[in-house]
Symmetry: C2
């Protein structure tokens, strides 16, 4: 994690950090400038406005999640491989950016109107879950897994992967865990989630 020499990149990283921590309305341009080690005026020189800077950060955050999901969902793996890949890859990504899910979810919730245009104008579009849904239905028909609404299974998997990160502060209070203990809990989630899901669906 060496500090980039060029100013624009330093600002980008500082903005990412501050926005993810405080959100759009909570972040101060001064905070970003301080963290980047430069002056407030520089932010406007490079990125024009707070909103433009935020849009960039948000889009980049979004793109950290979706392409990888998509490539797994549309792969040629069978259902069980796909679930394993999804769980492992997804938790790995989140582990590298633990504040990312809450940031994305929260800003999406606060700007219900903005996200669509920003997303679909630049991105390849929302993930394609059709193939996974179809695979789930096939396995149910074959009798290899128990009947379940495919959408529910997908939602369950995502919930198990993501919530421990999104809900961290709340769960820590409930379980009375310090940061170190919670980190340990998160580290073995890949195996835990995978095992739990496979148990739940196996016929």
């Amino acid at each position: 994690m060496e500090i980039p020499v060029n100013t624009e990149e330093r600002i980008r990283l500082a903005a990412q950090h501050v926005f993810q921590k405080k959100g759009l309305s909570g972040a101060r341009m001064q905070d970003i400038a301080d963290e980047a080690g430069i002056n407030k005026a520089m932010l406007h020189y490079y990125f024009r406005s707070k909103e433009k800077l935020f849009d960039l950060v948000f889009l980049e955050s979004f793109q950290k999640i979706f392409p990888k999901i998509n490539s797994i969902l549309t792969s040629e793996d069978n259902l069980f491989q796909k679930i394993e890949h999804f769980v492992f890859e997804y938790i790995t990504v989140i582990n590298q950016n633990p504040h990312l899910p809450l940031f994305v979810v929260n800003e999406l919730a606060k700007n219900p109107e903005l996200f669509l245009q920003k997303l679909f104008s630049t991105n390849e579009g929302a993930p394609k879950v059709d193939k996974l849904i179809k695979q789930i239905e096939e396995e149910i028909n074959k009798g290899t897994i128990l009947p379940i609404k495919p959408v529910n299974l997908f939602l369950n998997i995502i919930s198990l992967c993501v919530f421990p990160y999104v809900g961290k502060p709340l769960v820590q209070i409930i379980l009375n865990m310090d940061d170190e203990q919670y980190k340990g809990l998160l580290e073995q989630r890949k195996q835990e989630v995978l095992g739990f899901v496979l148990n739940a669906i196996k016929a």
Copy 2:
């Protein structure tokens, strides 16, 4: 949902609504005044400052979640009854306040220092999960459920209950569902979550 006649109560409800939707930093006193149908000055007359008003709203939100959880967790039910009660009650509460979990989680994450004093000074304290943990261990020893780290099981249950609400905007994009469809999905989560969990742990 009739509108209260007395001003203080109107402000409280308006504040709750606006804060839950926009968060502390995103909410404007003017928004709250407008929604309450009174003047900005009134807010300060009754609640002194934005921060004090927020603290009240946040604490009330918090207290909507915890007492009920606690009473279930410490009850004399056996493990399976307890899981069923927890899932049904918890999802019912969230269904009545769908914005509550994201609000609480988000503000907790943004104010890591504030929450402890505010909470523990007024509340009966964090939920007691010890009893549940012990019950899980007992059932594992008896062989009625598969081995699992008790904390993981608890975390899994909460994740399955809460994430569909917290992650709504994101999940809706992924699954390409409109509000009506998503509402339908949420309505059958009680049965879905309970069945999924029981399948996953049954020996």
